[in-house]
């Protein structure tokens, strides 16, 4: 069970205009703007639910994920995940969750993928039997096979992403946060990853929160959608709620963004 109540988070951003003169001016007098990345966010997600968290660039999706995974501390508001406050009780909390940041890498660059996995086994204190069962299952589902023995630096983006997802699931997390997991994947890998996330939810009852710009991901995976824009929750409903007529999903969402002016 995930609850977020009136969460606010702001960032201080140094801004200046282009040019050398402006750069010199900023040396002495720096102008900061306060950006409200999250402004009074409230929602609840039940166990075993799959939720799509969508919104335009800079809407606050990743900030929400980072608060939920215990990396960021909000300015105000309450956040509970299974009764724990993620940023206060970080170490206990992160044992139960798996996170994939699509644009970052958690695997060690210089060594074979399997070495990173073995390290994760020790970090999460996964028992040998559980590790081997999970590894076999993940290898089969994500088609890792030969990839495991290659150094990470020599994998393609899609291959690496499949390994990243496997890495986040070795310790049987109850909750999975996926921050744009299908960035840069080819059609086959995308389908494989979607299929896999779906199975994970079905078999292990994993709660999945997915942020993405790929509406096909949302269509394939989630029933519930939370729309965020300019740090506020604008809509919390199902795909059918927003779908009008025969328009395809991308057009529907673009129109939604336009009506909310975000």
């Amino acid at each position: 069970m995930i609850t977020m109540e009136h969460i606010c988070k702001s960032y201080k951003i140094a801004k200046r205009n282009a040019g050398f003169g402006e750069a010199c001016k900023a040396l002495f007098h720096r102008k900061y703007e306060k950006i409200y990345a999250l402004n009074d966010i409230t929602f609840t997600i039940k166990d075993g639910e799959m939720v799509g968290y969508i919104g335009p660039n800079g809407a606050g999706k990743s900030s929400t994920i980072k608060i939920l995974s215990g990396i960021l501390t909000p300015d105000s508001g309450n956040c509970f995940v299974d009764g724990r406050i993620p940023y206060k009780d970080r170490i206990e909390h992160v044992r139960q969750i798996g996170v994939v940041f699509g644009q970052r890498s958690q695997l060690w660059w210089d060594v074979p993928v399997i070495d990173s996995f073995e390290l994760l086994k020790d970090i999460y204190s996964i028992s040998s039997s559980m590790y081997h069962t999970n590894l076999e299952e993940l290898t089969a589902l994500l088609n890792l096979g030969e990839l495991l023995r290659s150094p990470v630096r020599q994998l393609s983006l899609g291959q690496r992403m499949r390994c990243e997802i496997a890495a986040s699931l070795l310790h049987n997390p109850k909750i999975l946060f996926l921050d744009e997991p299908t960035i840069g994947l080819d059609a086959v890998s995308k389908l494989a990853v979607r299929d896999f996330i779906h199975k994970q939810n079905q078999i292990h009852k994993t709660t999945v929160i997915l942020t993405t710009h790929d509406m096909q991901d949302i269509e394939a995976l989630t029933k519930r959608i939370i729309l965020i824009g300019k740090g506020k929750i604008l809509m919390d409903g199902t795909l059918e709620d927003i779908q009008k007529g025969n328009k395809n999903i991308d057009e529907t969402v673009a129109e939604l963004y336009r009506t909310y002016d975000i």
Binding site: Y11, K66, G70, I71, R90, R95, R104, Q106, S125
Partner: protein, 267 residues
Amino acid sequence: MQKYLSFFRLRFSMGLQYRTAAFAGVITQFAWGAMGILVYRAFYEVDSTAFPMTFSAVVSYIWMQQAFLAFFTVWMMENEIFDSIINGNISYELCRPIHIYDMWFFRTIANRFSAATLRCFPILVVASFLPKPFGLQPPASLIHFFLFLITLLLGLAVTVSLCILIYSLTFFTISPAGLKILFTSMVEFFSGAVIPLPFFPEKIQKMMELLPFASMQNVALRIYSADMTNRQMFSAVTLQIFWLITLVSCGKKLCSMAEKKVSIQGG
């Protein structure tokens, strides 16, 4: 504990991959050591009584310093850690059930250990076979040797804990460049990396010996060449332990402050 040991293992085995770097390192250290020794020889030939250490003690100091360079140089900081703070990859580390400070500690120690393992033996072996005044002398006694090993490890731990202080400060400054320059030059000067501390005027030396920088390479290298009295050795080891505890607790405090205030760079 097991997880930190695995960190150590993985880092150590990764470090052993870089054979060419180690070979180049050994050559550099030989050239550097030889140069240093020749400079001192020129001074000692003029008046060997004018110096606080015997020539052979200085020679052993220099060879040991070169052999264990990877333990004690502060410029060998870990760019991967700085990068992870600058570009935000640290967010993955924060998603793991580990303490950032402990992880950094073990990984830095492992890196320095693997670098030193590859580099120290050729230097030690060749330096001990060099003709008399230029060669590495055996330790003064078995006790000196054991104390040398202990203070070597303590010195390594003090050096690493200072490095982590710099890593944690980068959370606040974003760019590590200024901090690196400041700390590197301070450590080089005050730790006895440029010239051994006994060569400084006595009053200044007394003050320098109290600083944390003197608890790095200074103690082990001087104990090896029997440059310290028993009393001096005892207080030096006590100071090492004191600084280790102080630096580690400051670092942990700073690290947890940074974790609370951190804003992940790069979205």
